[in-house]
């Protein structure tokens, strides 16, 4: 195929068309809308596969495709292009987004069956797909920003989809606000980029990092990191992700686990050249990654809400990716590889959680589950495979990608290497702990079912086929994706032309690190088994240690935000309001009042008499003629 690049726009166009049709189509689409949305997501996936095979047929360094759609008002040096760039990195994302996206569309057909606003839900999902694809396909930062804001909007709409619940509306607002902080970072970064390089296209910016001072690059790197923290729920902007679980479960799976929250990893990997040239910014990235991977894991241990436990886990796993991306060429490929495998197993885990909730009258408290493995065998098996994958059970997906990241962290060298590697290793142990806890509390042990609000005891049952089929497909991914991608380092070689690759020098042998990882995992599983497998799980949570109580409150993040930002912000706004009232309003209102007064007076000239109008015209003509003559005379 000679003109494969012309297909790129189709990737975005298909879900965009779906969003437009479903959101504007009105009620007549209520009965078929969900299939329209699913079909268009699937169409986008088919196009992605076609492009992928086309790309495989080319030599490694000639795989990038470009498509230029149009320029939006070129002015001097300001060139805002709507143009796409599809290289190996984008391709990976496109396959993940459209593939997992299509599966989750299918799952939602069953999950949202009884929701009367299902058509709108699919419209938003399609809108999300279009924006996310735009984000990863853009060939410049400005267009990426459009996609970035687009996924933010879709995320807001979907978290608050059940807007009749005040908690959902609040969560949506919180996600939106926290994301604004990160978005501010991205917009500032784009402005700095434009003033420094005179452009914001990937190619020219990333090729000319040598021409900018290290200070500028560090600033750019930190701003981009701020953006990534917001979108990917990294410390200190992590607080929104847990609340975002108020959204329907397919949304949590697609947006808040598999795709959108990984946009930060994409941004950092894409901007690799900037970070490589700014060691201080890189250090900030690995610090954020390491802190978040522990933070998320600890929070995950204390949550009784199955989705919130998984959300903590997502935060932690993305921390691994950010950590890897901060390591430079040693880690980029592994960050993306973990992102892909995580996309499979975390989406699978969420869909499994959704399936459990579906069968348990929308109960989310794991203390009220127990013994479900016999009632939901397919969910149990697929969830179990996802579980084995995430804890890094040897041979499954998570094992390959996480092990590589831990290796790369040690390979950073020096004290830093030991700290980062140690944190990653500790994280692996905690991951095994909290995931085993989830597994045991949900599928094993006593039945601790409680009647729901209407007083009915749940009758757990296996979910319909539209829901189980995607779970099975994702389970296959959880099992095999990691092995496939690391077979002869195929994924690293695939990404190398874009991200570069470097083996680094680990202070320990690879075998030693792998052994340590497996040992940490076994330790975590064993501890969890001792606490939750051997002993009955109390239906009401015990008081717990100080750390547990703090972790239940998301390690006090909201309290911290409240004290520092809300209180501080209130003081700031109060003083600003004072200045605003006394000074700014004075000037503004004064100006407005003077214009208003002027307007009122000028208005009186318009008195409705044709004679006055004629005299005005006559006077105007006289002045016009006099002025023209005067100009000549001067």
């Amino acid at each position: 195929m000679d003109n494969a690049e012309n297909l790129i726009a189709l990737l975005v166009a298909a879900p965009l068309l779906g969003a437009v049709v479903l959101l504007l189509g009105g009620r007549r689409l209520d009965r078929t809308g969900h299939w329209v949305g699913t079909a268009l997501a699937g169409a986008s996936f088919v196009v992605a596969v076609v492009l992928f095979t086309e790309m495989l047929g080319r030599p490694g360094d000639d795989r990038t495709l470009y498509q230029h759609l149009f320029s939006w008002i070129p002015v001097g040096g300001f060139q805002a292009d709507v143009a796409f760039q599809l290289d190996q990195l984008s391709m990976t994302f496109v396959l993940l987004i459209t593939g997992v996206g299509s599966l989750i569309h299918l799952y939602s057909v069953g999950y949202m069956e009884h929701d009367e606003r299902r058509r709108r839900f699919f419209g938003y999902l399609n809108l999300f797909l279009a924006a996310m694809l735009l984000l990863v396909l853009a060939d410049n930062y400005l267009l990426l920003y459009v996609g970035w804001e687009g996924v933010g909007l879709a995320s807001y709409l979907l978290i608050g989809f059940w807007q009749h619940k005040p908690s959902a509306a609040t969560a949506a607002k919180k996600a939106f606000l926290v994301n604004r902080v990160g978005d501010m970072g991205l917009s500032l970064a784009i402005m700095v980029m434009f003033t420094t390089f005179g452009t914001f296209a990937f190619g020219p910016v990333l090729d000319s990092t040598g021409s900018a001072s290290e200070g500028t690059l560090t600033a750019l790197g930190l701003l981009l990191l701020l953006a990534a923290c917001g979108k990917s729920a990294q410390v200190p902007l992590q607080s929104w992700l847990g609340d975002a679980m108020e959204g329907p479960t397919p949304v949590s799976a697609l947006i808040h686990a598999a795709t959108m929250v990984t946009a930060g990893v994409y941004l950092i990997t894409r901007s690799g050249a900037i970070f490589d040239a700014a060691p201080a910014a890189q250090l900030a990235v690995v610090t954020v990654g390491a802190v978040t991977l522990l933070f998320g894991a600890i929070v995950g241990c204390a949550k009784d809400d199955i989705k919130k436990a998984l959300a903590g886990s997502t935060m932690s796993q993305i921390g691994y990716m950010i950590l890897a991306a901060g390591l430079g060429p040693v880690g980029y490929a592994f960050a993306i590889m973990h992102l892909v495998t995580h996309g499979f197993f975390k989406a699978g885990l969420f869909l499994g959680a959704g399936s459990v909730m579906h069968g348990m009258n929308d109960e989310v408290d794991m203390r009220r589950y127990g013994g479900l493995r016999r009632y939901m065998p397919i969910t149990f098996v697929t969830f179990g495979l996802g579980y084995l994958a995430i804890i890094g059970f040897p041979g499954l997906s998570g094992f390959f990608s996480k092990d590589k990241i831990i290796e790369a962290a040690f390979a950073k060298g020096g004290t830093e290497g030991w700290i980062l590697g140690g944190a990653a290793l500790l994280g692996a142990a905690i991951t095994a702990f909290y995931m085993t806890r989830v597994m045991l509390m949900t599928f094993f042990g006593e039945k601790r079912w409680q009647p729901d609000a209407k007083g009915e005891l749940p009758h757990p049952h296996e979910s319909p086929r539209t829901m189980t089929a995607p779970m099975i497909v994702l389970a296959f991914g959880s099992v095999f994706a990691g092995g496939l991608l690391s077979w002869h380092e195929s994924f690293v070689k695939w990404l190398e032309p874009v991200t570069g690759f470097d083996h680094g020098h680990a202070p320990l042998g690879a075998a030693a690190i792998t052994t340590a990882t497996v040992a940490a995992m076994v330790l975590g599983v064993a501890l969890a088994y001792l606490q939750y497998g051997r002993r009955p799980v109390p239906a009401t949570p015990p008081r717990g240690s100080l750390l547990t109580r703090a972790a239940r409150r998301d390690l006090l993040q909201d309290d911290l935000n409240h004290v520092v930002l809300v209180r501080g912000g209130e003081h700031l706004t109060r003083s600003l309001v004072y200045v605003d009232h006394s000074l700014v309003d004075g000037v503004v209102n004064g100006t407005a009042a003077s214009f208003g007064g002027l307007s009122g007076r000028l208005r009186k000239l318009q008195n409705g008499y044709a004679r006055t109008y004629a005299v005005t015209m006559f006077g105007g003509a006289a002045v016009l003629i006099a002025a023209t003559l005067l100009m000549r005379a001067v």
């Binding site: 015209m617 003509a621 003629i625 023209t628």
Partner: protein, 549 residues
């Protein structure tokens, strides 16, 4: 009279005449104008020959077909290269067929086409005695409130003459920016003005106000025409010709032969300057620039709203086209004289329109003052005196036409018992009751305010850029300040529509027929397309920006 004199007259009369040269007319190149004129005359015949019942449909059909055909002719000419390489003068020097002329004619025809849909709308007014009626008086000649009017309403009369009148106006507007000598220009001016005066008087509701508007428009229009004509006379006295090219040559001093009859006055700069200023005044009156703007609010408010939309868009396009040709073809040698004066006019127009609009309480008057402010913005592009200036003005006019027609079309929908509810207080909370209509109107208001991703931004950006590059930086700063002032009252309407409590006795939004819906949809579509992807049209305007001389 003496016998000898009579004799000599007889002798002269008896002598054989020289053979009269038949004028050479390029019919193909004049096709757009000829089609519309022909259709207008046919429209008059329709009034005579077709029974009353089917007149409305016949007239509408005729108008739509004629405007479409004329637009196709414009496209054909443009495709044939008449806008660029084969641009030339036609009809014995009377008409220029070049890029700006074709672009503006195309814009006028499209604007007229969507306007005609609103003219033909018959679903908004509650039907009179079971018959659907449009926005125009049942019988124009009957005195408002008289028995004859009531009888006419009862009989279900409608003034279908509006269609041929509109077509005559369109034909005049097509000639106006293409006119290549001052007399043709004047005739075109009168040809499009007279039907407009009449159309203004034809409102079905609030007829007294409508008639007052028409009389004012007529009186002041005649007044400005007198100035214009006097200006033509003075310029003729200066140059010995009314042809643009000849005047330009005399201004440049490249003409050798001097007409002996005019030897005394020719080349007298005072004649040129005074005459030129008067010509400018005539055109500035039509575009509604301060201080020749005072008719605008009264006429926009009084005229039937479909006519207001048509007039606000198409007249402005035609008049700015003529103004561009006058300044760029006839008077470029005088740019040191006219530019400072035009600077001043642009400034007072931008500021005046924006400031007075702040305190308006009637939506139609508000839009009238807004149109004055926009005339000022376009003048900023005119002043640039560069090809970019021309292309930016062409683009602005295209963008502005559709926003304006769309906005006035929305105004026709919001009604209460007395017809259109134009008082702003009645629009409070419209967004709650009719979100779609309010959202569409908000799009138009944002475009007027020049918010990015609407055509208003692209257009304003283009003219300000051209002005800045043409050395008028100060003007741009004042333009941006005026835009900020103007944004206040546009946004205020949006706030009123979406964030105020609806009034219990507020107006209802009438559901229009597909005709008005088409007009509004086209307006929104053009507004968004020109805002999101303006480059193609900017390029088109750029290609069309060379005047033939």
């Amino acid at each position: 009279m003496s016998t000898t004199a009579v004799h000599s007259l007889w002798i002269t009369a008896a002598q054989p005449l020289d053979k009269i040269q038949a004028p050479h007319i390029e019919y193909a190149q004049l096709a757009p104008m000829i089609i519309v004129f022909g259709a207008a005359i046919l429209g008059v015949l329709v009034e005579v020959l077709v029974p009353r019942r089917s007149r409305h449909h016949t007239q509408m059909f005729l108008a739509v077909v004629a405007l479409t055909a004329a637009f196709a002719a414009v496209l054909g000419l443009a495709a044939g290269g008449y806008g660029t390489t084969r641009a030339g003068i036609a009809a014995m020097g009377a008409i220029a067929v070049d890029g700006p002329a074709l672009f503006l004619q195309g814009t006028i025809l499209l604007a007229a086409l969507v306007s005609v849909f609103t003219f033909a709308e018959r679903r908004l007014d509650p039907s009179a005695d079971g018959r659907r009626v449009d926005s125009f008086a049942a019988q124009a000649a009957s005195v408002p409130g008289s028995d004859s009017e009531k009888a006419a309403v009862k009989a279900g009369f409608t003034t279908t003459e509006v269609f041929p009148l509109a077509l005559f106006a369109v034909a005049g507007m097509l000639v106006f920016p293409a006119a290549n000598d001052l007399l043709t220009l004047f005739i075109a001016l009168e040809v499009f003005s007279l039907p407009l005066y009449l159309l203004c008087a034809l409102a079905r509701r609030k007829r007294l106000m409508s008639q007052e508007a028409a009389v004012k428009y007529f009186l002041l229009g005649a007044f400005s025409s007198a100035f214009f004509l006097f200006g033509i006379a003075l310029v003729y006295g200066y140059a010995g010709s009314v042809a643009y090219a000849r005047i330009a040559d005399v201004v440049d001093g490249t003409v050798q032969t001097i007409d002996p009859a005019l030897a005394a006055t020719m080349g007298n700069d005072a004649l040129l300057l005074i005459g030129g200023a008067m010509l400018l005044m005539g055109l500035l009156f039509k575009v509604g620039a301060v201080p020749f703007h005072m008719w605008t609010p009264d006429v926009y408010q009084g005229a039937p709203t479909p006519v207001t939309g048509f007039m606000a868009a198409a007249t402005k396009v035609a008049a700015f086209g003529a103004l561009l040709r006058l300044l760029y073809v006839v008077l470029p040698g005088l740019s040191w004289d006219w530019r400072p004066v035009m600077w001043a006019i642009a400034i007072v127009t931008m500021l005046g329109g924006a400031i007075v609009a702040i305190t308006q309480t009637d939506i139609k008057r508000l839009l009238a003052y807004s149109s004055i402010a926009h005339a000022g913005f376009i003048l900023a592009g005119v002043i640039a005196a560069t090809p970019e200036g021309i292309s930016s003005v062409l683009f602005y006019l295209l963008a502005y036409s559709f926003v304006t027609i769309g906005a006035f079309a929305v105004v026709t929908l919001v009604r209460d018992a007395g017809g259109e509810a134009t008082h702003l207080s009645k629009w409070a909370g419209l967004g709650r009751r009719s979100p779609l209509v309010a959202a569409v109107f908000a799009v138009f208001l944002l475009a007027f305010a020049g918010i990015p991703l609407t055509s208003g931004f692209s257009g304003k950006f283009a003219v300000f850029r051209a002005a800045a590059e043409g050395g008028a930086g100060t003007l741009v700063v004042i333009g941006v300040i005026s835009s900020a002032i103007a944004a206040f009252f546009y946004i205020r309407v949006i706030v009123l529509m979406f964030f105020s409590e609806p009034r219990p006795e507020g107006p209802t939004v009438a559901v229009p027929s597909p005709l008005t819906m088409t007009t509004i949809a086209v307006g929104v579509a053009v507004t968004l397309v020109l805002g999101v992807a303006p480059q193609y049209f900017l390029d088109l305007a750029g290609q069309a920006s060379v005047f033939v001389r």
